[in-house]
Amino acid sequence: MPIAERGADSGRISARFEALKVEGRGGLVTFITAGDPDCDTSLEIIKGLPAAGADIIEIGMPFTDPMADGPAIQASSLRALTNGQTLAKTLKMAKAFREGDTETPLVLMGYYNPIYSYGVDRFLNDAKECGVDGLIVVDLPPEEDEELCIPALKAGVNFIRLATPTTDDVRLPTVLANASGFVYYVSILGITGTREIEADPVAEAVARIKRHTDLPIVVGFGITSPDQAQSIASAADAAVIGSAIVRKVEDRVDDNGKAAPETAAAVLEYVGELAAGVRKSTR
């Protein structure tokens, strides 16, 4: 889609990557599922993320059938849904976050059906109003761009594209054609949180994608430690950490899926450790 036909976006994502460049380091992108284990606790976590060192925040919109995710994120989606999370509530959380933070980019991540059910136009309108800067919708490849990608770009909401090791040089231009915001490189074949990441092939892949685009490239899937976060944030523009954070939530819910008083603090402490790792990265 020609840039001229795109609506103006919030500018928060590009501003954040510019700032990281000035700092000379890679960024930290954190993922948690909205409403996991409940609305209040997850909002407390989200509000605390920027101070803990998150540079970009991804919020998962829970879905009953997260086909591309591993056991940790599946379980977190179910905890959230069991506790009554809906897409409308997730948008409200985005709004509540945005009221206290006007700079940290906020990206919603999930699957298409809840959005389709909510109504694409209504969703884009509400997301923009709630201060959402970008979308990652796992089951919408470029072949289905008419569904949400094009309308999102027109509405000025970034549509962030996934690239994977199976996305070869022939396919990359197709994947990148309507990409905006940044590119999310899924570093290993498989589902979230089940295999460990290695830095060398990642650096190669990032270089390969950079030959096709000027957009920042973030890398995720399989990062668990501050050291890994540091090395990935040196190889790419940012490291994404999801399953490992979600597991910290899981560790601190009881058998009925209820949060403990210290749940949010414990998750944020872990994010702080990852952030310290990322702050040692050099770009």
Partner: protein
């Protein structure tokens, strides 16, 4: 009539290039899977153009599966119901006991052409899993079948059959632990093993090209029926009836007849305890368009777009979606979709066993349940052909339990 108008008036030209049947179908998958699905599509197009591929399919259909399956006049049921003349298309006589093997042979021959060395599949009732495990034994390929742990419990004879055939059966504990979760898990396996693995989907759903490909493999049912009916009656049937889970046996019977206007076509979904109770698996009657498992289709979901776990006495019909081509055929009005309850199916199961000496699977028992409702009021020269797509051995224990009989 010019070719162009003939095409425009046909119900048999779908899908379009993007895999759409009207609003439905498509390729709603993660980027990781996209290159694989494009590969399957390319390989399938090439295979279709190669007479050797069809010759292989025909060879195994005849010598291994046992096709053609008979078209049988069900005289005693016809007389008992006292109206329409009822025929059964006997796909329960196929090797492994259902229509599922028609599709599996087509896909495994394609997988071999593509040089894939490992097979995965999902299964609900276990019939597709058994058919896949069987073909993998035949071609000496490792096979992993994903099955929800709830289904592993209620279809244990099929679990043992798969293991005897050398397959690994993985009990899926995620989500609601039934067919939809088995499908999720199989997709996850495929994403992680893209190099060597071929995923044999068991019904006319999933991302393009699966719905069209599975339909093509199952169309042997309808093509044979057409010919056999002309031999038996000198004309086409007045009505076709088939049960619908994902929709493959029904699509296989229906598709060759879609442009024969004189033929009424009826699909029967599982109404479980009754549509009004909310405990059913009737996606077309009780669902609305949604996106799951790589395609848009009618889907049983809540107001938030979350998938609702369906219910049916029959594990093979217990799926919250339905193939995209059926979804489209419903909207066009070409096919009527109705439903039958657990109770209807149980009654039909017993009647067919007693009157015809055929123990049907619980899935086609739903189709027969509907036939029992409509046949008495139809004239004697109204010919119904019903797809008897599976045999009931696997269901004997379930039915005994429901009838209060201890085995």
């Amino acid at each position: 009539m010019s070719d162009a108008t003939a095409k425009a008036n046909s119900y048999r030209t779908g899908p379009d290039e993007g895999g759409h049947f009207g609003l439905y179908g498509g390729r709603f998958v993660a980027e990781t899977l996209m290159p694989l699905i494009l590969d399957v599509e390319t390989a399938y197009e090439a295979a279709k153009a190669d007479p050797g591929y069809q010759a292989d399919i025909d060879y195994y259909a005849k010598h291994y599966v046992g096709r053609p399956s008979p078209l049988y006049y069900a005289k005693r049921i016809t007389e008992h119901l006292g109206g329409a003349k009822i025929y059964f298309k006997r796909d329960e006589l196929n090797h492994t006991g259902s229509h599922k093997i028609n599709n599996v042979m087509g896909q495994i021959l394609l997988a071999r052409r593509m040089g894939k060395t490992r097979i995965i599949a999902e299964t609900g009732a276990g019939q597709h899993g058994v058919a896949t495990a069987t073909a993998c034994a035949l071609f000496d390929m490792p096979c992993k079948v994903y099955m929800g742990s709830v289904d592993v419990e209620r279809q244990s004879p099929n679990v043992f059959r798969m293991k005897l055939l050398g397959a690994e059966v993985e009990a899926v504990e995620s989500g609601s632990k039934t067919l939809k979760d088995a499908l999720n898990e199989a997709l996850r396996d495929w994403v992680a093993n893209v190099e060597d693995t071929f995923y044999i989907i068991g019904t006319v759903a999933g991302p393009h090209p699966y719905p069209a490909m599975v339909r093509d493999f199952q169309s042997v049912i309808g093509n044979e029926t057409k010919q056999q009916m002309l031999e038996a009656e000198g004309r086409l049937p007045d009505q076709l009836v088939a049960c619908i889970g994902g929709g493959s046996n029904a699509m296989g019977l229906f598709h060759p007849f879609l442009d024969d206007e004189s033929v009424t076509i009826t699909g029967v979904e599982a109404a479980g305890h009754g549509i009004e109770t909310g405990e059913h698996a009737a996606s077309l009657t009780g669902g609305r368009p949604g996106v799951l498992h790589g395609n848009r289709m009618y889907l049983i979901q809540d107001d938030d777009g979350q998938v609702v776990e369906p219910y049916s006495i029959s594990a093979g019909l217990d799926y919250p979606g339905i193939g995209p081509e059926h979804s489209w055929l419903k909207d066009t009005g070409r096919v009527d979709y109705v439903s039958a309850t657990d109770k209807d199916a149980l009654e039909a199961f017993q009647l067919c066993s007693k009157l015809e000496g055929i123990i049907p699977a619980l899935e086609p028992s739903h189709a027969l349940g509907h036939v029992m409702k409509i046949a008495p009021d139809l004239p004697k020269d109204h010919i119904i052909c019903m797809n008897l797509c599976g045999r009931g051995d696997k269901d004997v224990a379930t039915v005994a339990g429901l009838l209060g009989v201890e085995l």
